[in-house]
């Protein structure tokens, strides 16, 4: 099972790395966000805005890249790969888990670029335990949303509708989160939304880690969320193909 997951993961990774344009674009985009929003925005909501916004950009990058990831499953389905894989004796769920793993690892590579640039721009360097926990937080967060996007992708099986749904949920999720400003400067209605938004959980947890604390609640919450989403994804996947 674990092996099959790895082989499916490896397939997507090699294919992605060979598409040079996609790799470069996915690494440049988050860096641009960090530099232009973090350094150039004229309004500052906090004193050290770059330090404040780095966790927000990290989580945003994971959010967008995991929501985009569902298209991988759509293409495998409409191009006939999925049928070939499903007719093999290796556990069928490993296709799904391989996808989630690849999407999350790809997101973490993008996150690494952001962390490096943030460090160069003067964001404090943290100790290894905190760095590890930041990666763990981002990984769990990505599992939640890559499982979701894969489920949406499998359900819709059509790339255009998928892209429409994707942009319909990604922007609102981002702008109603605590990514760009702290809760106390938000309008009341936005604050209420931001408190409910799962994206804020990940951002707040990452922020606590940047400040040297350990967000036990946030990590447990994300782990439970990830577990539930993977179970739901497995259920949908099994139901769709028996």
């Amino acid at each position: 099972m674990m092996r099959a997951v790895y082989y499916y993961f490896e397939r997507d990774l090699v294919k992605w790395l060979r598409g040079k344009v996609t790799v470069i674009s996915s690494l440049v985009m988050p860096a641009a966000w960090l530099i232009f929003v973090g350094l150039a925005l004229p309004t500052k909501f906090t004193e050290n805005y770059l330090e404040f916004i780095t966790p927000g950009i990290l989580v945003m990058t994971m959010l967008f890249s995991s929501l985009q990831g569902g298209s991988l499953m759509i293409f495998d389905k409409i191009l006939g790969f999925l049928n070939k894989f499903m007719a093999m004796p290796s556990p069928r769920e490993s296709i799904l888990y391989g996808k989630i793993l690849f999407i999350s690892v790809r997101g973490l590579m993008q996150a690494t670029v952001i962390l490096l640039i943030a460090t160069l721009l003067g964001v404090r360097i943290l100790n290894p335990v905190h760095i590890f926990l930041i990666y763990l937080t981002l990984f769990l967060f990505s599992v939640v949303f890559s499982a979701l996007s894969t489920m949406i992708g499998l359900y819709l099986s059509d790339h255009d509708s998928y892209a429409a749904v994707n942009s319909m949920i990604s922007m609102p999720l981002f702008f109603t989160s605590s990514a760009l400003m702290p809760y106390d400067v938000m309008p009341v209605w936005l604050r209420a939304l931001a408190r409910l938004n799962p994206v804020s959980y990940a951002i707040d947890s990452t922020r606590i880690l940047f400040q040297g604390g350990i967000p036990v609640q946030g990590l447990i919450g994300l782990a439970i969320g990830a577990g539930i989403m993977v179970l739901l994804g497995t259920y949908q996947f099994r139901k769709a193909f028996v």
């Binding site: 082989y7 598409g19 006939g80 049928n83 499903m86 007719a87």
Partner: protein
């Protein structure tokens, strides 16, 4: 090798496969029929990708619903879409399958099937540079890497040029000679007539006729071909719609 008993599958109100009974021995078996007759649905049920609405089938002695995993370990399935990864090399494409099937001595087995399909000298190139015929042979190499007992091919020669098609058929014959059972669907009736041991013509989910190409054609008349057998047994919507040449000419003139 394959026993199909009263197999049915419906999608909503549409009955795609209706009470199908068939027995397939160690042979090259061709399932023929017009578009939408239920060929692919049948293949997808036999390859455990689709659950039957009713009825059963056994592949290599295993039930396709209750023992689906065992069925999958005995078969290979090549759908008509030509699903090979363009950004991977030919060898990498086959290697993926060898890994997923858990083949021991992986690299020698991979080389062996690539050689068998005549792709050795291009195995290191990206599949993006392959022709349609080569991609199809690469898919066969993937399918052969775990030495299946039954090979399911959905339209294996679709969209290939004459020599590409001939080559695929030679490989299929060779596999049969090695003891493999081949279950395939096709629209090229001349090819089915030439290479299949037995064929069945399916229409609207029912088997119209089944038998060896020789028996079927000779029952129609001397010098008959499988095309005649097909047209005799199948009423396609195209045919029912008819073609009124006068009306068509008038339509053209009006423009």
């Amino acid at each position: 090798m394959i026993e199909i008993k009263k197999l049915s599958r419906s999608f909503g109100n549409l009955v795609a496969v209706d009470n199908l009974d068939l027995e397939i021995e160690n042979e090259i078996f061709g399932l023929l029929g017009p578009n939408g007759a239920g060929k692919s649905t049948t293949v997808m049920m036999l390859t455990t990708l689709l659950k039957p609405s009713s009825g059963t089938a056994k592949v290599c002695g295993y039930d396709i619903v209750k023992e689906s995993k065992k069925v999958r370990s005995k078969i290979s399935y090549v759908p008509q879409d030509m699903a090979v990864d363009r950004k991977l090399t030919g060898r990498e494409n086959v290697q993926l399958y060898a890994k997923l099937y858990g083949i021991p001595n992986r690299s020698s087995k991979v080389d062996e099937v690539i050689e068998m399909m005549g792709l050795s000298d291009r195995a290191g190139d990206l599949v993006a540079t392959y022709s349609g015929g080569m991609r199809r042979r690469l898919e066969l190499a993937q399918a052969l890497v775990h030495e299946p007992e039954v090979l399911f091919l959905d339209e294996p020669t679709l969209g290939l040029d004459v020599s590409g098609r001939k080559k695929i058929w030679e490989h299929i014959r060779m596999l049969k000679a090695e003891g493999m059972t081949i279950f395939m669907t096709t629209h090229y009736l001349e090819e089915a007539e030439k290479y299949c041991n037995r064929v069945a013509i399916i229409d609207k989910g029912h088997i119209a006729v089944v038998g060896s190409p020789e028996n079927l054609t000779s029952s129609i008349g001397e010098n008959a071909s499988l095309n005649d057998v097909f047209l005799e047994n199948v009423k396609t919507p195209e045919e029912q719609a008819g073609f009124n040449s006068t009306q068509f000419r008038n339509l053209l003139r009006r423009r």
